[in-house]
């Protein structure tokens, strides 16, 4: 029997196994190889909620999905074409993600009596047999046995050999999608440079998996996915949290001032602390504080001293920081506050994504407390957005909230990375020393952008006191004067709104500048909306997309753009937060589409929803 070679435009693969099976590594290796092959791609890791759930249970299943293609890819794929399962629990947890008629590559050794029991299948169950009757193609492979045979001569123990099972499976999938083994072989030899025996065992398992795919005729079809038409340039693969770390580091370097990160560990933001802790040679201090409040207040102390203050957390931590955010706002010191949102309220679902902290970011403080809010749209965009957040914070002496989420923080995509000379300059100037003959220094005088001077300790003649108590215009002295308070409240608001002067105007992401339906998104829903709208545009519908990165203040032309459409549809992974801001500020009768399930929108559900508002097909719901 010969194997049919089929060319595919896109494909989605999901790797799933026990937490100890190395599925994240397998997925990230497939991702790198796919990127190097020139595909566009998007990925979604699916971590178990528990740190170490009992092995073999559904709670302990870890997954990784990659969507790649020869066309532009913006989302990690609703459903997968191929599901790799290392045990019964992985099948149970993930069969819902497999397209009907999809392929299951199953490690049959993970379907023994004990595994079935741990996965809570009945004692007589035959899950693989069952799914094969439901139209799925099951490819059973005894991965454990094959890997042990493959590495019989390696001199490693069975326990050590079994750790290479994931490489054997990866080899099979590489064969199935006609991929080169080269990138992963290089990776293994670098990763295990100090232990060549382990490196070569993994390489052999990978190669034998590939050969196994070719030789055993277990597949009737083999696929190839050609390179995508991607903007020319140099690319690398990047997750959102990595991009944020690099963006912060770049801002520290380009601004020429020290950076101070005060942080307290919290899922899913901790990787920013981990990443920045390795950047000390860029004049960056990272400080793991005793709590969320100390994390932000230490950054404020550093900002008073002339550092760019940064703090990173997730929603519950941001709640603890709110009083300090207000302090930084009335101080008018530069501060970047990172919120990698997760599903709430309270502890909620820490490993799952959500967009429900927008109103917290814009309004969630005591008193009139305007800050700038910037939200990245994709993993790579975390770089640009956080770099911009640093630029705004320092140039406007204002706290800036960077509103990422768990989905883009951990998801990865190819990034056409910039060179340093392509980065916008960050203009920072500390106030100059004064002599005894100069008139007294006034720390709250302002420039044309309403920005006060950054007067740092150690500068002669600028000795001054700042506090959380309302301050008199210009002098900064304590003031309880009613008119002064009203003036200062407006001043802080006006200064925040002045930031809009330097922001780019909203441009159409997809479609025409007027028409039936405008889909408005913010944050991590970008990919799903883009994919849905672009497909509808291709199908000839009157639908457009804009994506709002700047949520406070909004871009200056937003109102005008919104009013050019019959229907404004706002999908959000919350109960309707951006829609409140839009209705409030522009009187636009927008319609919300809200699902709060802890997972990104599926492209198909968005398409179906948008279609409901299109006049072209006559359906109005």
């Amino acid at each position: 029997m010969s194997v049919k070679e089929a060319s595919k435009k896109t494909a989605t693969i999901r790797f799933a196994g026990d937490s100890g099976d190395g599925m994240q590594l397998t997925g990230s290796q497939f991702t790198n190889t796919t990127a190097l092959a020139g595909n566009d791609l998007s990925t979604l890791p699916d971590f178990p909620a528990e740190i170490r759930a009992p092995a073999g249970t559904v709670a302990g299943v870890s997954g990784f999905q990659i969507h790649f293609g020869s066309k532009p890819i913006h989302a990690p794929g609703d459903m997968c074409d191929v599901l790799v399962v290392m045990n019964a629990a992985a099948l149970k947890a993930n069969i819902k993600h497999l397209k009907s008629g999809g392929v299951i590559i199953a490690n049959v050794d993970g379907f023994g009596k004990k595994d079935l029991n741990l996965a809570k299948y009945g004692p007589e169950a035959d899950p693989l047999g069952e799914v094969s009757t439901q139209g799925y193609t099951v490819v059973p492979v005894d991965v454990t046995k094959m890997t042990r045979e493959s590495l019989a001569e390696s001199g490693l123990t069975f326990k050590e050999i079994d750790r290479s099972k994931n490489m054997f499976v990866l080899g099979i999938v590489y064969w199935l999608y006609s991929r080169s083994l080269e990138p992963t072989i290089n990776f293994l030899r670098t990763k295990f440079a100090k232990n060549p025996q382990v490196a070569e065992a993994n390489v052999k398992a990978l190669e034998d998996g590939y050969t196994f795919g070719a030789a055993t005729q277990i597949f009737t079809e083999r696929y190839s996915v050609g390179p995508a038409k991607i903007e020319p340039g140099r690319y690398r693969n990047i997750t959102g949290n990595e991009a944020a770390v690099i963006g912060l580091t770049a801002a520290a370097k380009m601004s020429g001032i020290p950076m101070f990160l005060g942080s307290y560990p919290i899922t899913p933001a901790s990787d920013i602390l981990h990443g920045l802790a390795r950047m000390k040679h860029f004049n960056i201090i990272t400080y793991q504080a005793e709590d969320e409040i100390a994390a932000i207040t230490s950054a404020i102390g550093a900002a008073f001293g002339g550092s760019l203050g940064v703090t990173s957390s997730s929603g519950p931590g941001i709640a603890l920081k709110t009083e300090a955010i207000a302090l930084a706002t009335i101080y008018e010191l530069p501060l970047v506050i990172i919120n990698v949102q997760r599903a709430g309220p309270s502890t909620g679902m820490p490993t799952k994504t959500e967009q429900a902290d927008l109103l917290q970011a814009v309004y969630g403080r005591a008193g009139e407390c305007p800050v700038v809010v910037v939200a990245p749209k994709s993993p790579a965009d975390c770089f640009d957005s956080i770099y911009e957040a640093c630029k705004i914070a320092t140039e406007f002496m204002i706290p800036v909230m960077f509103l990422s989420d768990g989905y883009i923080a951990n998801g990865a995509e190819p990034w056409k990375y910039p060179t340093p000379d392509q980065l916008a300059p960050i203009n920072v100037a500390y106030a100059k020393p004064r002599s005894n003959d100069d008139e007294a220094f006034k720390p709250y005088t302002r420039n044309e952008n309403l920005v006060r001077p950054w007067a740092i300790p150690g500068t002669k003649g600028l000795e001054h006191r700042i506090g959380g108590i309302e301050k008199e215009h210009e002098t900064g002295n304590i003031s309880y004067d009613p008119d002064n308070h009203h003036f200062m409240v407006q001043m802080r608001e006006n200064k925040r709104n002045k930031v809009a002067e330097m922001l780019p105007l909203i441009e159409m992401e997809e479609g025409e500048t007027s028409g039936d339906v405008l889909v408005v998104g913010w944050g991590s829903t970008f990919g799903s909306i883009k994919e849905a709208v672009s497909e509808l545009v291709e199908e000839g519908h009157s639908v457009s997309q804009i994506h709002i990165r700047h949520l406070a203040p909004f871009p200056k032309n937003l109102g005008e753009v919104l009013r050019s459409f019959k229907t404004v549809l706002i999908p959000e992974i919350n109960s309707g937060q951006l829609i409140k801001l839009i209705r409030d500020q522009y009187f636009v009768d927008a319609i919300g589409y809200n699902k709060v399930r802890g997972v990104p929108f599926a492209v198909e559900e968005l398409k179906a929803t948008i279609k409901g508002y299109l006049s072209t097909n006559g359906v109005q719901s």
Binding site: Y235, H281, G309, H464, G468
Partner: protein, 341 residues
Amino acid sequence: MKSNELEVLTGKDFSSDQDVRWCPGCGDYTILKQVQNVMPELGIPKENIVFVAGIGCSSRFPYYMNTYGMHTIHGRAPAIASGLKISRPDLSVWMITGDGDSLSIGGNHLIHVLRRNVDINILLFNNEIYGLTKGQYSPTSKEGTKTKSTPYGSLDHPFNPLSLALGADSGFVARAMDRDPKHLNTVLHRAASHKGTSFVEIYQNCIVFNDGAFDLYTDKVSRPESALYLEQGQPLIFGADSSKGVRLDGMRPEIVDLNNGYSAEDLWIHDEHDHMKAYILSRFFAVGNEDGFPRPFGVLFEQNRPPYEELVREQMAYALKKNGAPDLEALLSGDETWVVG
């Protein structure tokens, strides 16, 4: 004047143009005066000094100092001062706080700054009451204290601030009082010269809500019998006619009569570097000295270990040596890249 020469300043130069707004007779005035007196004697340029405070009566302090200053939020001064000092080791950072600010709402930050040993001089004005909020009991109020929020008496067991500081491994622990400005002056000098966190508890009289709380120690008549002034290398002697001493029987302290069979040679010799003995001294803490032991004033403990900010700088220097000069271009590209088109 050459720019590298230090201007000759006086206490007055450290007084800001703001009106001081504490109640008349408040103990804070004498402390402010002594701090202003000490500043010019430290040899530090005025612009390199920062006062950081939390919230409370004492925390208004920075507004009255003609240096850099931060009036912050309740309890958070240790964290703000830590961020400032770690990022700017060149600055002399002073933290002003009260018993509510740093032992109640800010208790967490206080113990952590002490264990990290950031080089900050912490002056805790202890008046055993909440003043700014008009008279509720504080975490140092004695059991049974009747206040607006405890009309039937407080049930809380109070903190012993010095035992707490020693327990958090503070490298410098001292006690002073507002009504002995000369002694306060010497303790402030000691705190300033100590590298690492200095923790100074200052008994401060709140004339409105807790007047006389420390009379036993501050009153010139009762002081000799109730206060024990510590001096390095000197025997522990107190009493109106210096007739009483503290002797150590193993680890058990006892009061002995120097007129009755004991001499100075028999006494406990104060050793600031002995953590165990410092802890025993901190336990001389009975309400009204009911156990007979006098309340110690002065430096209970001093130990030199590297300040946190120095360790941070060392690690940054190591990272620079290990990684070489920062290369933004290499960071942007990472290890694995590919070219399209």
